[in-house]
């Protein structure tokens, strides 16, 4: 399926017009809010800083490392941008990166740009932010805490973005729902490990060279604990809902009809969640398997990270 090493850029034609418009609206709202907040927080330095870092993220996406048999891993960057600059600036940066990729390099479509910005910008940054903040609060201020939190933020940002992409494709009828979700979730569970490792590597480098840069970005918002809880719930909600979506496409369709989604795009040739599935694959079994796979990978990833860190600190 979507194996683009540079992320999950959806091209034009793969999302229904309704979905494209809805996500455009959400992205515009989020970016508008971010512009206001950045003005307040960063002050005058904002333009050069965000411009250059957007370029750095773009260039950073070109860095690769050999994985196996000719394939290579890359960075998406939402997590590291969020950790370094905070969520609002990071959202603007990812917006610029995704927009330039679409406008100039046709990596991702123009009509679906709103959705791509939402996926890699809003979802990527939000998930990174809440994960990182929560874990830092729980784990503390030492180096290993920074790295572990960074890994988790990066992995989750990739995984949840992938799930949202799968949902968008399924709703648009561009992919059978019970293949899109497990395929995207499965593949990006692995790709997410790469993102986690690269993010950890960046944090390790920056921790050694300019620790202050890591600390400035992570100043927690004045909002209380409630925000973290809500954020985590939201993130967890998406992760949980998607298997449900694949298990019960009728349910989502019912919800969509209730909310008048169907009134937007007059395209009677396909329903909101198309009723077709790959033959021979039962939805219930898939949902369970999917949850199991994701769960196992989360545990494995955490174990990986901790084992590595232990080895590092006892090595030299």
């Amino acid at each position: 399926m979507l194996l683009s090493p540079f992320g999950m850029h959806i091209p034009d034609g793969f999302l229904s017009t309704a979905v494209s418009v809805i996500f455009w609206i959400m992205s515009v709202a989020a970016v508008g809010l971010a512009l206001q907040r950045v003005n307040k927080d960063l002050g005058e330095r904002q333009v050069p800083l965000m411009g250059v870092l957007a370029a750095a993220i773009f260039a950073g996406q070109m860095l690769n490392f050999a994985v196996a048999g000719g394939t290579s891993g890359h960075l998406m960057g939402a997590a590291i941008a969020t950790i370094l600059l905070g969520p609002w600036a990071a959202l603007l940066i990812m917006t610029c990166v995704v927009a330039i990729q679409a406008l100039i390099f046709q990596d991702g479509g123009l009509l679906v740009l709103g959705a791509n910005i939402f996926n890699m910008g809003v979802v990527g940054v939000t998930v990174s932010y809440f994960t990182y903040q929560t874990l830092r609060r729980i784990l503390g201020t030492q180096r290993w805490a920074v790295l572990a939190a960074g890994f988790a933020a990066a992995w989750l940002s990739i995984e949840l973005t992938a799930l949202v992409v799968a949902l968008q494709l399924a709703i648009s009828g561009s992919a059978p729902v019970n293949l899109a979700i497990p395929a995207m979730a499965g593949i990006h569970a692995v790709i997410g490990i790469g993102e986690g490792l690269i993010t950890m590597g960046s944090l390790a480098f920056l921790y050694a060279t300019r620790r202050d840069l890591i600390e400035t970005g992570s100043a927690p918002a004045p909002a209380g604990r409630l925000v973290w809880v809500v954020g985590l719930l939201l993130a967890g909600g998406i992760a949980v809902l998607s298997p449900l979506a694949s298990a019960n496409p009728d349910g989502l369709e019912w919800v969509a009809e209730q909310n008048g989604f169907l009134k937007l795009a007059q395209n009677p040739s396909y329903n909101l969640i198309p009723d077709y599935v790959l033959p021979g694959v039962s939805n219930e079994a898939l949902a369970t398997i999917l949850a199991g796979v994701i769960g196992a990978l989360i545990v494995a990833g955490a174990a990986f990270g901790i084992a590595y860190l232990r080895r590092r600190s006892s090595g030299d």
Binding site: Y207, A208, T209
Partner: protein, 237 residues
């Protein structure tokens, strides 16, 4: 063990069509120290990037450290040819000095003990043994350049290729780098604008201009040829 560089009629054009090398030929013997001089844009860096397979050309013969420059040999060649770029910031990408110097041997798959030994030897060669735990980014330009050289020496290359080693250094750092290059015994090809250093360290000098070798001979002789120097944008030191 060959320790040699053999280039015959090398042509190279960039992907966008713009030609950089028009048939370069030169031979460097084991343990020779050769300076490569010429104006910016002459093709010096382009030539150097061929020596470890980063750039490839289909026209001309290229043989370094006894191996032909074909993709199958690139891995071995990169162990035998140490290429040090002009900007140390592009080469020091690990958190500590130790990590940067260890990269080469680690990539080769050497054991932890061997890697440690290589790093210690390399740092000793550049007189920076105390710097292992330091953060590369915080060092001065001169120190970074020496670490960059160490990061290549740790692979125990037969041939050392350096791109503008003294560029951007203050007199003290420059002096210390020249002393270092003097102490290293391997075959050396150094591209530079620093003609004082050339006269001091390099018995042989190759002049390049517009993608061609225009002169190749003893430094003492070529340095006296003011017309030649002037014709290629060089000033007699």
């Amino acid at each position: 063990m060959h320790h040699t560089i053999e280039i015959d009629n090398l042509h190279y054009a960039y992907p966008d069509g713009h030609s950089a090398l028009y048939g370069v030929s030169l031979h460097i013997e084991a343990c020779e120290k050769v300076a490569l001089v010429g104006p910016n844009g002459a093709g010096k860096s382009t030539l150097m990037l061929h020596l470890n397979g980063i750039l490839s050309s289909s026209q001309g013969k290229l043989r370094v450290a006894g191996l032909d420059l074909i993709p199958a040999n690139f891995g071995k060649i990169r162990s035998r040819v140490g290429l040090v770029f002009q900007s140390p910031d592009d080469q020091l990408f690990s958190p500590t000095v130790y990590d940067d110097v260890a990269f080469g041997p680690l990539y080769q798959g050497l054991s932890v003990a061997e890697v440690r030994q290589r790093v210690e030897e390399a740092l000793a060669l550049v007189h920076m043994s105390d710097y292992a735990r330091r953060v590369s980014h915080h060092l001065s330009v001169g120190e970074k350049k020496r670490i960059a050289i160490a990061s290549v020496l740790s692979m125990k290359p037969e041939v050392l290729v350096l791109d503008e080693p003294t560029a951007g250094l203050d007199p003290r750092a420059r002096r210390s780098l020249i002393k270092l290059l003097d102490e290293l015994s391997m075959t050396m090809l150094v591209s530079t604008h620093d003609l004082h250093m050339v006269r001091e360290l390099f018995p042989r000098m190759i002049v390049m201009d517009q993608g061609l070798v225009v002169a190749d001979g003893p430094t003492s002789l070529l340095m006296e040829d003011e017309a030649l120097l002037a014709a290629h944008g060089l000033e007699k030191p």
